[in-house]
């Protein structure tokens, strides 16, 4: 075997690294628009699933336009602001900020002539982040639909949170008690939820840490919207719920 001088080895590795770096940067830049679009479509699909609308990558954009009325962000006092595009808000970054600086997104959809309020949620699972969207009926307490995703939960256990089976358990549950106080929804040990309770949902057996993660995530994220819910509730009598017939979803 021929022996090589150190200079040769250095030159060889430098050239190799430069070529590889150039190649990868070109690839990353040319493919970026496609990747961004995919992520956007995926997000729209997740939002649509939270109001129980199934979509494919192809029709997601059209359906999103059809059902989502508006989106905006709110601050901790519940004041609506339209300066930030709610769709691009990164919940991870917002939740890391101090509560007074957060811009929390709200998406409003119109289905069957009533409004739903879609709230993004973000939290920790066992192995990585979990996130999702929870939609509330216009009483701002009853859950209309829920969608959860995860990055790396255990398949068959924690990863079950992204299945329909788990998400359907949330339908019709309530996050406010009868006095209108925020109580959130508790994810309890699998199989022990009281079927009559409006505030309990069965967790996943064997996926306790992920289930607790969902529990914490709902409490943390939904509670930040409490003041916003209150302002809408007070305003509801005055709001003339416009039923735009052009937007009739049926």
């Amino acid at each position: 075997m021929r022996s090589y001088s150190n200079t040769y080895i250095f030159i060889f590795s430098s050239i190799m690294v430069i070529i590889v770096a150039a190649l990868l940067s070109v690839a990353a830049i040319t493919l970026q628009p496609y990747q961004k679009r995919n992520i956007e479509i995926n997000k729209k699909q997740n939002i649509l699933t939270s109001i129980n609308i199934e979509s494919t990558a192809k029709d997601a954009e059209a359906l999103y336009k059809e059902y989502i009325l508006e989106s905006f962000t709110i601050n901790y006092k519940g004041e609506v602001s339209k300066t930030v595009d709610a769709f691009t808000v990164d919940m991870k970054k917002e939740l890391a900020k101090h509560i007074e600086e957060r811009n929390l997104p709200v998406f409003v959809s119109l289905l069957e002539e009533t409004k739903q309020y879609i709230i993004p949620v973000y939290g920790k699972g066992l192995w990585g982040p979990i996130w999702g969207y929870v939609s509330l009926k216009d009483d701002l307490s009853t859950i209309f639909g829920a969608n959860f995703s995860h990055k790396a939960e255990t398949p068959g256990l924690g990863a079950e949170i992204d299945t329909k089976d788990f998400q359907l358990r949330f339908l019709g549950k309530e996050i406010l008690d009868e006095q209108g106080r925020f109580v959130s929804i508790s994810i309890v040990k699998g199989g022990t939820a009281d079927p009559n309770s409006k505030y309990e949902v069965d967790g996943i057996s064997g996926g306790t840490i992920t289930s607790n993660g969902v529990d914490d995530m709902l409490k943390d994220c939904l509670s930040s919207y409490e003041s916003y819910f209150k302002t809408i509730k007070q305003a509801i009598p005055e709001i003339d719920v416009e039923k735009d017939l052009n937007n009739d979803v049926n």
């Binding site: 090589y4 080895i9 060889f12 590795s13 190799m16 995919n38 990558a57 990055k151 398949p155 068959g156």
Partner: protein
């Protein structure tokens, strides 16, 4: 190697393609790359994409290393191999993210883990470093195919018995479920993949006496 005028698909070259399918299968005979075989075989579709990705990575890195084989300083050859593989894997990952986003989501971290797939490094070190590009290309395709075949067989059984579907389509009729049949939850967990791989090794050795070690 007097390959000056050797035809592209001489029997020797074809052997490079077919041997890894059976006699020197990377998973069942060399027992390499088992980790990813356990991880991505819950469903057929991701298994197929994984096999295809491995094939691309393996074929291209085999050719690249083979082209460089006379210039790579032996002292840093492992690093060079790793850089080539890693660059290819990142490329594949980016392409998957751009064009088949759903599947890339399912494969998530496992695409990145192709880098650590011992089959690829093994072939680079054992074959590409001392053979011509065309032979190395065939060797890469052959070994990736041998890997892919096992992946698909395992995924077929796991998906069928674990989820009752094939390629995402329901194949077990509802009436069977009404009769009391249930999907086997163990099938979707990694241990079952190991057992299926074990069963494949057993069947293969029962059929192919060459593989049975004589003690």
């Amino acid at each position: 190697m007097s390959a000056e005028k050797e035809p592209l698909f001489s029997s020797k070259n074809l052997k490079l393609l077919t041997e890894p399918l059976n006699d020197s299968n990377p998973i069942t005979v060399q027992v390499l790359g088992v980790c990813s075989a356990l991880a991505v075989t819950v469903k057929l579709k991701p298994a197929f994409v994984m096999a295809l990705s491995v094939m691309v990575v393996m074929a291209v890195s085999n050719v690249v290393i083979s082209l460089l084989r006379k210039t790579v300083p032996p002292r840093i050859r492992i690093i060079v191999q790793l850089v080539v593989i890693a660059a290819m894997v990142i490329l594949v990952d980016q392409v998957l993210k751009a064009f088949v986003f759903d599947i890339s989501k399912q494969l998530s971290v496992f695409v990145g883990l192709i880098i650590t797939n011992c089959i690829i490094m093994g072939r680079l070190e054992a074959f590409a470093l001392s053979n011509k590009p065309w032979q190395s290309f065939l060797d890469g395709i052959g070994n990736a195919a041998g890997y892919g075949v096992i992946l698909l067989i395992v995924a077929f059984f796991r998906e069928l018995l674990g989820s009752g579907t094939i390629w995402g389509y329901k194949v077990i009729p509802e009436s069977v479920y009404d009769f009391g049949y249930e999907n086997n939850g163990l099938m979707i967990l990694p241990p079952m993949a190991l057992i299926v791989v074990g069963a494949i090794i057993w069947i293969q050795r029962a059929k192919n006496k060459k593989l049975v070690e004589s003690n």
